[in-house]
Amino acid sequence: MALSVHKYDAVVVGAGGAGMRCSLQLARAGLRVAVLSKVFPTRSHTVAAQGGIGASLGNMDEDNWHYHFYDTVKGSDWLGDQDAIEFMCREAPKVVYELEHMGMPFDRNPDGTIYQRPFGGHSAKYGEKPVPRACAAADRTGHAMLHTLYQQNVKSNTTFFVEWMALDIIRDAEGDVVGVTALEMETGEVSIFHAKCVLFATGGAGRIFAASTNAFINTGDGLGMAARAGIPLEDMEFWQFHPTGVHNAGVLLTEGCRGEGAILRNKDGERFMERYAPKLKDLAPRDFVSRCMDQEIKEGRGCGPNGDYIALDLTHLGGETIMKRLPSVHEIGKNFANVDVIKEPIPVVPTIHYQMGGIPTNIHGQVVVPRNGNPNTVVNGFYAIGECSCVSVHGANRLGTNSLLDLLVFGRAAGNHLIETALASKAHKPLPANAADYSLARIAKLDQSNSGEYPQDVANDLRRAMQTHAGVFRTQKSMDEGVVKVLAIAERAASLSLKDKSKVFNTARIEALEVANLMEAAKATMVSAAARKESRGAHTVDDYGDTPEHPLGRNDEVWMKHTLWYSEGNRLDYKPVQTKPLTVDTVPLAKRTF
């Protein structure tokens, strides 16, 4: 059967902040670019980001990129690559100003400049005091940014393939990436996208956990495709728990609440963060705050009849500030917790929020893998940007507002790199003869299935296992058990049954295809986590506690290195952290206190 082949200079998979910042750069330069998205672009998960974009504009108080750089390295628990972090923090003001020029409706100060609010882990003078660095549009920053980027892409005539799901990467005999296969949801037909370059901007895999702030679409599709194509995944053991997910609902309440002055309280009404982080208090980084909350709950100071949550108190901010700066938080409180946050505290718990790891890349967004002794050999024709990538600017823990920044900086950088390397004048490499066979076989297997498990039952078992064995506090024993369990569940996922065999907008088929991607992301997470025998950032293991040799359980002699997980045989490899920035001095290792 002859499949239709779409030919473009560049194919971007994913229409969130990173994908659309990149496609905009390419479309403006006159390249033929196609963007594939499972959902209409403005429905991508960037839309849910609330608090702000980190950039040292210094509009409210003295700030500069050196402070931002230091905070990000320290926030990453020294696992972030300092060259990439320097690049991101230096570029930050520029990409924010550009976004403003594109029409982003930022809130304003009396002098007309962009409004900025404090955020967790962002400080002035190397940790001395919190600094307002988060450039915000109320608490809808992600929504405003995503819509602005979509609008600019409309202006630049970017070609969108809306409600198309990418299935697999096409690599030729030399291992270069020459395209992707994709399924048009409305018709159920598979096509080939033949490109000089494929850019993944597919977002995170937060849906591998049972309780997550993430949208249903965040199933790690890019990770699954990369893993199946033999590309390793980096640092997948590091998952951020956001301190303030609504108890029993999972919906996120922005860190901007605390940026505006909200306080976390235990059942005694105590502002307990003062005890743990005397300088930054409630605005310590997320991994740190989440652990403190968990500690309070464990020691019997949790709130509620079961003592299983913490109270986020906004009542002292006043109705006017809340309705002006945090209107969505007010709306979410009402809809998902039946709480008026102006009048009473809202129950929150640390909730899975963000994937620090991903497809390994360099600062141009090019995917890099170990080959012939070089741990960072470029895979020709393949880029990854945004949450699906690991460049690595977030290391073991991301600072709030650095995610939107990451999308803008690296989306733009990848686009620029393609333009600078004269993509337009390059020729397409030929497609291999069997380009779509693998994808078609996967679809055919589902279409012919008549016995086997229901995809969502398997996925739900996976989510429960991940929640139990790869949660906020980890133990070696539990992680080891988790590996056995997750690998067993992944076996079951190999034979799924689809009842609905219709071709037209078959969401059951889409979900079944997503399950294959969830499995790769979950295996990568569980196997990488069980192997890392230390505590660092979001990976906190009870067995590796605070000792004089290893402060806070971090073992730099052995474990200051990036994990690389390969799907085939669940093999692990490691590569060094880049401790040398581009132009400034290395931030030396230190114990992380706030």
Partner: protein, 235 residues
Amino acid sequence: MADKRTFEIYRYDPDKDAKPYMQTFEVELEGTERMLLDALMKLKKMDDSVSFRRSCREGVCGSDAMNINGKNGLACLTNMQTLPQKITLRPLPGLPVVRDLIVDMSMFFKQYHSIKPYIVNETVAPEKERLQSQEDREELNGLYECILCACCSTSCPSFWWNPDKFVGPAGLLAAYRFIADTRDQVREERLDNLEDPYRLFRCHTIMNCVDVCPKGLNPTKAIGKIKDMLVKRAA
């Protein structure tokens, strides 16, 4: 306590159905299934062929708009406690049905695109941000928050009759968002683009759009402001 609900759902799969029909489901809900979307997810576990769009499940992505007991809304923001025992779900009215509760939104987005939904400012950009006063920025509140769910336009009789010619409430709200932005330089062209018996003036202030907007926005008010500007311009 068992909470047993009856769902009447519009079903149509062009792959196998000659015509649409209504199908009845009985679903028993747990306390944790708080929103209509939670109930729908449970229903999909019973019958995986029931088709609808969904993503963020918190009212910001705009995917799960549908007609709920005769009124358009988002499934993820509709609390089950506000619904009666029997719930009738239909696709958004006025747009072609792709399958079940999934509609073809091309016409809706075509109208959104027709208003040039992007800032136009051809002056050389400054090194830093373009300054905007707090008052000027406040003009954008109630406009930029639209999530393009189409609840409003598909509840508007004027849009049902002329979806190819009338911009519709969502598109006009967006049009005013750019007209009102002090950074935009083509206000007159934007007004020219709307000065037409159909594009703008098909709005007869029926105000269904205001009634159904899940974000509490007011397209009718924005449309009124555009009409005022056109009247003033003509005077």
